[in-house]
Every structure is written in structure tokens, then in C-alpha cells.
Symmetry: C2
Subunit: 195 residues, 2 copies
DNA sequence: GTCTATACGATGATAGAC
DNA sequence: GTCTATCATCGTATAGAC
């Protein structure tokens, strides 16, 4: 096992998180050992504890970072006045942002049940914030009269489920370009909410 | 620890599967130990191996049974001639069938990555069969001219993701009855595919 | 059919050398 | 900053008594 006598502190931390993300996504949080993560990084298991207090914090860190980046990236979008335009913007943003972060999305959805209660509540709250932003768009559209859904909460959940579903099959370099996927899904989403 | 000196062979097997399903759904396959399952059933860990060759077979059994029941139940539906009617039937069937089997659905989706390759292929094949039945309906509607989607494969995946998403939030006795949920989702599904 | 006992490796996490 | 060594615990699975 090659020694790394120099210093890597600024670089090893991110590598630990990257390895954990990759392994958690592939095999699941519970199935991955700290030794496996260490091996992937090229250090011994004990060294990981210089970068995380424990395994649970590692998971929470990954999920919280992902959710914060999602909320920040969405908040940075230019604000359109029309509800339909905003819905199109949301749709395309959601697909593009999620497609570029397959592992993060997968872990953030699949490992919710492995979060300790306090951590679970924190992630849930961020996810709820994101959903509320979509629901606000739908409500705005209802007020404008440009959208028509039987129930804004259900439509929100239905749309997000549909859009996030892209991640279960989309792979870069597949049959369809991401631009085409965006187009097809926006077409279906638009009609589903009566726009 | 209470002894069970009598015989329970016909009853203990189903109880083992029920306990495993419940625990796998709550905590995940990898996070659940055979000892936990045994404790839930009220036997010792070693006794479980009278009912399953190993833990992996237990998981595969649960998933394969769920998929077979899904395919059988869907195949038993009366055959409607019109594509739109068949789509409505599929939509309502999917929501109703899945809502009544929350744990099975959750495990069958979340634990795919914990299946050994051979078992994974078997489950994937059944899932694909189910998807193909929906796609056949959409293609039929395209031929009839009663449905209009940009891509039948993508529409299939989008619809299934949307419908299965109900399971992430629906709870019996909640704000909405299942009949209402069916109604709302059929409304959105119908419009999404241009019916 | 279920129990107790056990094999034996892997686990998360810590202590102390360098 | 990383290593080696270690702890106590838990993992799946099996053997043999009753």
C-alpha cells in the first residue's frame, strides 16, 4: 500500500465525498463499508475520520449539499411573469439539473430511510421547499386562468414524479439528446396541466 | 423466550415473508439482519433457514411474487376495444393495485440493486413486460388516431413514473379517497397523451 | 420444527506510533 | 495526515440436541 507522505488535506476531503457518493449510489448506504470507501480513495479506514465524524454525517452531507445546490440553482433562474413560461422553465431546469447529477439524485431519494430523524427532517424540509415553488407556479396559473388542474398539490407531485422519472432511464449518449427529452416532457407536462 | 413446541410449518413460512417484507420496506434489505427478521417472527435466526435457502432468495421471492401478481391481475382485466378506454382502465388499475401493496412496490423498486445479476434480470424482464403492455395501448391509440404522443416509449415511462409516484404520498384515510386520486390522475394522464 | 451454540469474517470507530 | 493495531459487536449461515 503506497504511502502518501505529503499533504492532501484539501484534496482528500472532496475525494472521500466523491467515493462515498459513487458507492452509496451503486450499492446503497447500508451495504457500503467505511473500508470500501477508504479503498476507493486510497487511504486506510481510520483516515476517513479526519474528514467526517461518522458514516451518517457523510450521507447527510451529500444529501444536504445536493438539496442546497438544487434550491440555489433554481432560485438563480430569471423570473418570468407568465405562469406557463415559468412552468416551462421549471420543467426544463428540473430535467437538465437532475440529469447532470444522477448519483446525487439517486442517493437523495433512495437513502431517505437511512437518515437519522433529525437529518431526515432537514432534508424533507428542503425537498418540500422545492415542491412548494412548483405548486406556487401552478396556483399562479390557475389565478391567471392559463392553467387548469383539479388539485394543485396533486399536480405538483404528479409532475415532479414524472420529471424525476427521467433519471431512471436517461443516459448520456443514448437514443435521445437531452434537448429532445426536455421537449417531449415539456409537451406532456404542458398538456397534463391544461396549458 | 417462549418455546413453540408444536408445529407451525404452514404458518411460519408466510410469517417469515411478511416480516421480511415489512422490515425490508422500512429499513432496506442491506440494513436488515436475519436476526431481526427472526425476532419479528418470534423464532431464532437459525430457524429461518427452514423456509429460505438464504437472505437473497427471500428478497427475490418477495419481488418475483409481487411482479407475477401484478402481471396476472392486469391480464385478468376485461379487454376493451378502444385505446382510450384501455388507457383509462390501465391508469385506474395501476393506481388501485399499487396503493394496496405499498411495501411490495417500495421493495420491488428500491432493492433492485441488491439483487444478484440473475435475479435482477428475471425481475427486470417482468417489469419490462408490464411496460410493454402500456406501450401497446399507446401505439394502438396512435394508430386509431385517438392518442397523440411524440414518442410512445417515453410516454410509457413518463406515465408509469407519474402513476407510481402516487405511492410516495398516498395513505389510506388521508385527505383524498382513492377514487378521487384515480379521477385526478386519469384526468392528467388523459390530457398528457392528447386524448 | 425449533432450539442452542458456534464458526468465522466484517463492521464502525478509536488509540497511539510516525 | 496517515498508518497499524485493536475493540466490541454484529453479520450470515451451519451443526447437532431435543
Amino acid at each position: 500500500m503506497a504511502r502518501k507522505p505529503g499533504s492532501r488535506s484539501e484534496i482528500t476531503g472532496p475525494r472521500v465525498r466523491a467515493a462515498a457518493l459513487r458507492l452509496f449510489a451503486r450499492h446503497g448506504y447500508a451495504a457500503v463499508s467505511m473500508r470500501q470507501i477508504a479503498a476507493e480513495v486510497g487511504v486506510q479506514a481510520g483516515a476517513l475520520y479526519l474528514y467526517t465524524p461518522d458514516k451518517q454525517s457523510l450521507l447527510f452531507d451529500l444529501m444536504a449539499t445536493h438539496m442546497r445546490e438544487l434550491l440555489d440553482a433554481h432560485a438563480a433562474l430569471t423570473h418570468c411573469p407568465s405562469a406557463v413560461k415559468r412552468l416551462e422553465q421549471f420543467t426544463r431546469f428540473h430535467i437538465r439539473h437532475h440529469a447532470a447529477r444522477a448519483d446525487e439524485v439517486f442517493v437523495s431519494y433512495m437513502e431517505l430511510r437511512n437518515l437519522e430523524p433529525q437529518n431526515f427532517r432537514a432534508i424533507e424540509s428542503m425537498r418540500r421547499t422545492y415542491e412548494d415553488r412548483l405548486e406556487a407556479i401552478l396556483r399562479h396559473g390557475m389565478d391567471e386562468g392559463t392553467l387548469k388542474v383539479p388539485d394543485t398539490k396533486l399536480a405538483t407531485l404528479a409532475l415532479i414524479a414524472m420529471l424525476t422519472g427521467v433519471n431512471t432511464w436517461y443516459r448520456e449518449g443514448g437514443r435521445l439528446s437531452l434537448a429532445t427529452v426536455e421537449e417531449v416532457y415539456w409537451n406532456m407536462a404542458r398538456r397534463a396541466v391544461g396549458a
